[in-house]
Amino acid sequence: MKILVCISNVPDTTTKITFNSDNTEFNASGVQFILNPYDEIALSKAIDLCEGGKGTITVIHVGEASTEPTIRKALAIGADDAVRIDAAPSDAYFVAYQIAAYAKDKNFDMILTGRESIDYNGAQVAAMLGEFLDLPSISIIKKLDLNGSKATLSREIEGGKEVVEVDGPFIASCAEGVAEWKIPNMRGIMSARTKPLEVLAAQSLETLSVVEKFETPTPRGAVKMVDAANVAQLVDLLHNEAKVI
């Protein structure tokens, strides 16, 4: 079994998000970058599926050389080898196109991604890969079981779940719950330094979306405190002032 896991490099979840003075670029100074948590869950699932020598895991990342610590982290957690497509990931279409170009003749049994990156939140790459590679894609899964060439996946729907079966290669984006987090051990960290990391040039592509500017949410007014002994006042405020009930 050959599994490809797509990973992205994102600001740590504790980051306070700020932008440069004209709000056109994320202010990365002093920001710690991490392996996108959902991608880490996808990788953890791949490791579970390959346990006991049942398969190999390649991680692929579209990004510049500065992102290599994140790739090494994925190798430390348990991927066998890595590929970096050397380009800034301008949008999901660009990223999916690069990954598809790499994967199209490699016969992966499955391609896993995280449900979304925590910076762009597009939740687009998995389904785009499905379209580029003409493979089924199941977005936002919470469970994945294999039985021979058949996979049973449980995907999230509003207020419940849908159980989907697929026979043959597929693409899925993983949410929390699909696997337990894997913490890299010392042997993993040591071996990550020497595992193969191939760097490939990007294919050129015209993208159809570009971020023109960012903005941060408008701050709320001062909090209005209600006495714990008078919760009825809160109900009154929610009805008459906030008008939300």
Partner: protein, 325 residues
Amino acid sequence: MSVLVYVEHAEGKFKKSTFEVVSYAKAIAQQLNTNLVALAIGNLSAEQLSNLGTYGAQKVLHVNDVQLGTFNAQAYTSILSDAAQKEGATVVVLANSFSGKGLAPRLAVRLKAGLASGVVALPTLQGAALSVKRTAYSGKAFAHVKLSGSINVLALNANAFPVSEQQVSAEVISLASSAKPTDFKTSVKEIVRASDKISLPEADLVVSAGRGMKGPENWHLIEELAESLGAATACSKPVSDAGWRPHEEHVGQTGISVSPNLYIAVGISGAIQHLAGVSSSKTIVVINKDPEAPFFKVADYGIVGDAMEVVPQLTAAMKAYSQNG
């Protein structure tokens, strides 16, 4: 030229989020001075379909056959892209729902379209291009994205655009499926929907709780408050990590982002990752025994007190309010 809107339904019924999407698409059609065409797939009654005229759809395309009763991203993409081309659509609108996230990206690739998901406002027109506001950095920011495709796809967040009625007479047209036999590589085995629960991503009102509840055995207090309001229940990450509540209730940067009218946070301190997931809520109420909890800084209303005492009192006050109101 036209605007095409995909109307999602759950077992033959449209939800509020679908009417939001239709209202939003209608507003774009008016910006572009063109017609709104809706497309529905699967089992739906003629009455449900013609009712889409209430929200301004002049034409409703309906595709149904035995294979299309359940969601299939590839088949639905084939049908939608075919309809978009035949109707000369320059904008396609979908809900940024779980199924929408499986569909919109495939559709954008198939149509060579620009795509923005997590959209929260109407686009502004820049010649032939569109500029749309979408969420980014998991609710910590917004991005204005310029889409320059000859056709563009927008996936609208729930609770981001109000439903607006604009009655027109909708012409309902049945179409044959344009899905290809090779589209059917997946099959749906089971759909489980908790019918007594309100779906969290679309909820108008949310009651959420954290470690301040001390343990899962106290969660009935939260459920009772939610019930008194008709609200969905949610929780913080430490609570779902500890297994007190299921992962699908986890709100925050690595969980679900919500944008209800009212978000009540009980015993949640307000870590930056949690705040990211709730920042677009209209009104935030925080109940916490620690007056220094960071959550108070981003709340509209606050109560300092022990959740075990405040929550039952609030439930009683809500019940009294709804009986009198």
